[in-house]
C-alpha cells in the first residue's frame, strides 16, 4: 500500500512575518506547492501566527493553482490550517473566483484565437 507523502508549509516562516499581503510572497508559496504537487505530495498550508491575509496573496498562492491543476487534484492534495472564519470566507471567494477566471480566460483566448486565426 502506498503511504501518502505529506509536507507542511509554514507560511509565517517563508514570508518572514505575520503579514501575507504581497503577490510576490504568494508566488513563492505557489512555487513550493507546485513542486510538492509534482511529487504527488499532500500539502498543508499552516497560517499559524499570520494575522493579516489579503486576497492578492491568496490569488497568487492558491488561486493560481486552478490554472495548472484540476479541482479534484487540488481537493485531494491541499489543506489549510489556522485560518480565521473571515479568512476562510475570503479564501472560498478566491477559489470560486479562480475557477471562473480560468474558464473565462480560456473563453477569452479561444475567441481571440478565432479572431486572429479564424479557427
Amino acid at each position: 500500500m502506498n503511504q501518502e507523502k505529506t509536507f507542511k508549509i509554514n507560511i509565517y516562516e517563508i514570508i518572514g512575518g505575520d503579514a501575507a499581503v504581497s503577490s510576490d510572497d504568494g508566488q513563492i508559496i505557489f512555487e513550493r506547492i507546485d513542486k510538492a504537487f509534482k511529487e504527488n505530495y499532500l500539502v498543508t498550508l499552516d497560517f499559524k501566527n499570520v494575522d493579516l491575509i489579503v486576497s492578492t496573496f491568496l490569488n497568487a498562492c492558491i488561486g493560481q493553482l486552478y490554472g495548472f491543476y484540476k479541482s479534484e487534484f487540488i481537493r485531494n492534495h491541499l489543506k489549510v490550517e489556522n485560518l480565521s472564519d473571515d479568512d476562510l470566507m475570503i479564501l472560498s471567494k478566491v477559489i470560486e473566483r479562480a475557477k471562473q477566471y480560468f474558464i473565462d480566460k480560456k473563453g477569452f483566448e479561444d475567441s481571440a484565437n478565432k479572431a486572429i486565426y479564424g479557427s
Binding site: A19, S55, Q100
Partner: protein, 290 residues
Amino acid sequence: MKIIVPQKLMSDQAGFSFIVQMFRQTKELSFDELILDFKNNIWLEANLCAALGAILSRLQEDFVSVRFENLNYDVNKILSKNHFLSNFGSESLPDTYQTTIKFRKFKVTEEKAFKDYLDLELLSQPDLPSMSPLLKSKINKSIFEIFNNANIHGHCKHVFSCGQYFPQKKRLLFTIADWGSTIKFNVNGYLKKSFSGAEAINWAVEEGNTTKTGTIPGGLGLSLIRDFLKLNNGGIQIVSANGYWEERKGVIFATDFENSLIGTIVNLDININDHSSYVLSSEINADSIF
C-alpha cells in the same frame, strides 16, 4: 502659478473635482513655482493630503517649488501634525490627541513598511474608540487591497496615503492615491471599448471583473471592500481619469468630471462605531473548501 484652495475641501464630489482640476492646471509646470493660497480655506479633511501630496510630489520631481500661503491656524496645525507640511519644508508637530494618520509616501514594493505604518498609525492609537479585532482586521485588509491594486493595476512607483479620524462622528477617512495607469485606460485597453471614466470604474468594481490576463487570477479586492463597507455602513469613492464613482449604504453614484487625472484616488469612509459580527451566511469548512 497660484491656486486658491476652496473654503471647504472635503472628501466629496466637489472636493475631488477641485483636486482633479488642480492636477490639470499644474500638469505642464516645470522649473517653476506653485503657490497654494489658503486665504479662503477654513476646513480641510486631512485625509485628502494623500491626493494633494501625490500631485505635489510629482511637481517637485519636475523642479516645481511648492509654497503654502495664508494657512489658518487650525488647518496649519492639522497639516503639521500629520507631517504633510514637513514634506514641503515646514516643521512637523506632535499629535497629542492622535486623530491624524500621517501622510506617507511608499514605494509600491514596501508592503511590509506599509503594514507597520498601519499597525502604528491606525490600529494602535490609544485614544480611539475601541474597535473589535475583526473590525480592525477588516479595515487593514481593505486598505491593503487598495495598496496592492495601485501596484498591480497602476503600474506605478509610489503610493501616497493619509487618514483622519473624526472622533465625534466616529468615522475614519483613509485615502490612497497614485499616479499610475488609470482605470479608464486599463479597462478600455482590455475590453477594446471606449468607456468614459465613470463607466470604466463601474465595470471595474463589479465582482469578477478584472483587466488581469496572467496566470494569477484577480477581480475580487474591490468587491470584498464593498461588501465590508455595506455592512459597516461606510462608503467608498474612486476617482480615476475623469471618472468619479461612489457607493454609500449600497447606493452608487457616478459621474464624469470635465477634467482628467492621471492616476487613481480611493477614499474609504469607515464607521468605527461598528459592532457587527460579520456573521457568515454559512460556515465554511476548511476541509472541504477546495
